[in-house]
Amino acid sequence: MKKKIGVYICHCGANIADHIDVEKVRESIASDEVVFLSRTTMFACSDSSQKDMVDDIKKQELDAIVVASCSPKLHLQTFRNVAVRGGLNKYNYVQVNIREQGSWAHSDTPAAATEKAIQLVKAGIARVIESQELTPLKIEAHNKVAIIGAGVSGLRAAVELADMGTHVDLIEREHFIGGRVSQWGQLFVSEKNGEEIVKKLYETVIDHPMITLYTGTELIARSGSVGNYNLQLKITPRFVTQECKIGAFDKAIEICPVSVDDEFNFSLNKRKAIYKNYESEFPHIAAIDMLNCTKCGKCLEVCNSINLNQEILIENITVGSILLSTGFDPYEPSENEFSYKTIDTVITLQQFKRLVELSPNKLIYRDKEIKTIGFIYCVGSLQIKGDNKYCSRYCCTSAIHTAIQIHRKYNIKSYHMNRGIRTYGKQELLYTESSKNGDVYVEFDPKKEPIISKNGKQTIIKVVDLLTAKEELDIPVDLVVLVTGMVPRKDNSIADILKVPIGRDKFFNEIHPKLRPVETVIDGVLIAGACQSPKNITESLKSSLAAASKANSLISKGEIELEPTLAVIHIAQCDWCGKCADACPFGAILKTSIDGKEVAMVNNANCKGCGMCLPVCPTDAIDLIGYTNREIESMIDALID
């Protein structure tokens, strides 16, 4: 059967046409006998072009179409829909990438780029001839989302999804929820502090019948795919079954002999093995840190809600989609980076913010009252030598906001050693306010970093100020605060488990920053908040809400349409050897018997269309729909023709 094929070649404005002779490409394929019509178009994706294509398909009764334009990653769906509107099966469409892999990659050699485009279009035509009509697979979707990370992003997304009628399993690795925001006090743009924001979200979550909260829980394995993910959770007990009586808890802390660095306060102080990060923390039950607990049993004597014999539980859950809101870690300066850890008056911004939280009246650090502070910006961001080339976005504003707070609270004057203040948008007002308070902003050359030294009890920052035509300044301060940026979580094992792609910055990567900013290439796995890139709280919330709506529209209908890319067995050629079944990572190939012959059979629900079974078959009895021998071979031939 001969097909009537329509071919469209896109100028993409100048993107393609500047380097590829689009008309020549059209001419060279127009004569092909299967090509019923061929056209060039300024923007194939524009509405009017799409409309023209639909008209063509209908009026000329085309059997299949080829569009040579940009990467299929952008517009495969667009033109498949065109095919459908024209009355075709959407798989009778092939997209040829002559932009990313044509005009742009070979803008240096236009003639050769044109040649390549011709070959690519020919291959596309060859492939579309072999294309079959297919119906998408429909799979059942669980209307439930697993949210990993119960910081504000995760909490907010949970509430939103639950309100939209989707069940949520909210999974937090720590024993307490609230993430980073619970560590900050006064927040920018709000009268509320971090604790209050977290409290409100927690109360909504805990009361919501659609949300199940898991604390001390880690995701350790996953199987399945979109609509039907099976997750294995490891739940570490808190060893405290209900809240100890008020006096009893204090006593338990008092007698606990273990003392470890308090990570919640960034090691500014120590905590015991039985602990709460702050008085009103959520959930309201203390936890015992079993990594450090010596099981001495002393606490058992004062609080009878403690049970040191609780065991780790493994639980399996099934969800339709997974939302990652695992947040960030503050950058930890290496030893001696700006004298960190070598001079005792050098601390990080995160430590400093905790210090401010813990110091109600006077700011005292290491027994000395602090009167002046030097902030050093871009520590761990915009690195010249290190790997972190990116801007951490939130730190300028955060440091300046803190400077305003401490000016108000303790009348502290601050010096800001920066590399160009980036208080974008309305945050600029904070920069203005701080300047008006008399805070001094010193700009330094990243190649000439400030040097911190100590002269007796006095800490001195030596810095070359670009704004004073490179005057070298000696600034005496009481405390140096390193404005450390955001880095991805140190323990990012979740990325390995879920196969989420990691970007240049090592944060999770979205599909497209503008088109699909909260989705990943793994279907059904979404990302929100600072795990995607540095963000402030508002921005994190926005992305988590956006992710919530994507998750909801993906799974709430109860079923999901999937690509019908499946393996098929040609029974006649199959002599069951089992190699394909061994190769399949999803256990989708089984032995069956047809008319007495032992052959392989594909379980469509499990087949993910990876094609791993194809090369192992000794008799070449397996094809992958959409990538059949005929399709691939016709392309191989056409490309060199």
């Binding site: 990438n97 003639a111 993910k608």
Partner: protein, 136 residues
């Protein structure tokens, strides 16, 4: 002029993967990183799906080299992908030897979803190497 290049240029067939290495190849274009225009890409779902017979067919048809832009450890289907792709290469190498095709004409490397620069480097080196071998 294009006619002459067409006949003498080194032609390379690349099997890429839709979710991992193909985005990197697209990215190379986006960043205007140049590699020889006689490199043609056929994307598959996974690099472990390349049939040796396709590779052999490519050589038969006159390609000078075949490159598999593998998923490597980034594969979203299975961790065994690296191993499986290597097996395919090893198996094909044997078949190539039987047919008297130099094993140097088939190469693979893991190309991550943002490995645009490594991809371009691989292509330039591969084509250069193939050119050298062809002349010699």
């Amino acid at each position: 002029m294009s006619e002459t290049t067409k006949n003498t240029a080194i032609k390379v067939l690349v099997f890429s993967t839709e979710k991992i290495s193909d985005p990197a190849i697209d990215l190379a274009g986006l960043l205007k990183l140049h590699y020889p225009p006689t490199v043609y890409v056929i994307p598959l779902p996974c690099s472990s799906a390349v049939k040796p017979k396709w590779i052999l067919r490519a050589f038969e048809k006159g390609y000078d080299g075949v490159f598999i832009a593998a998923d490597g450890t980034d594969c979203s289907f299975s961790e065994s992908c690296v191993e499986k792709t290597s097996d395919i290469i090893a198996q094909t190498h044997i078949l190539m030897k039987e047919k008297g095709i130099s094993p140097a004409k088939l190469k693979m490397a893991a190309i991550c979803s943002v490995c645009a620069e490594p991809f371009v480097k691989h292509m330039n080196n591969f084509v250069e190497e193939l050119t050298r071998n062809k002349i010699n």
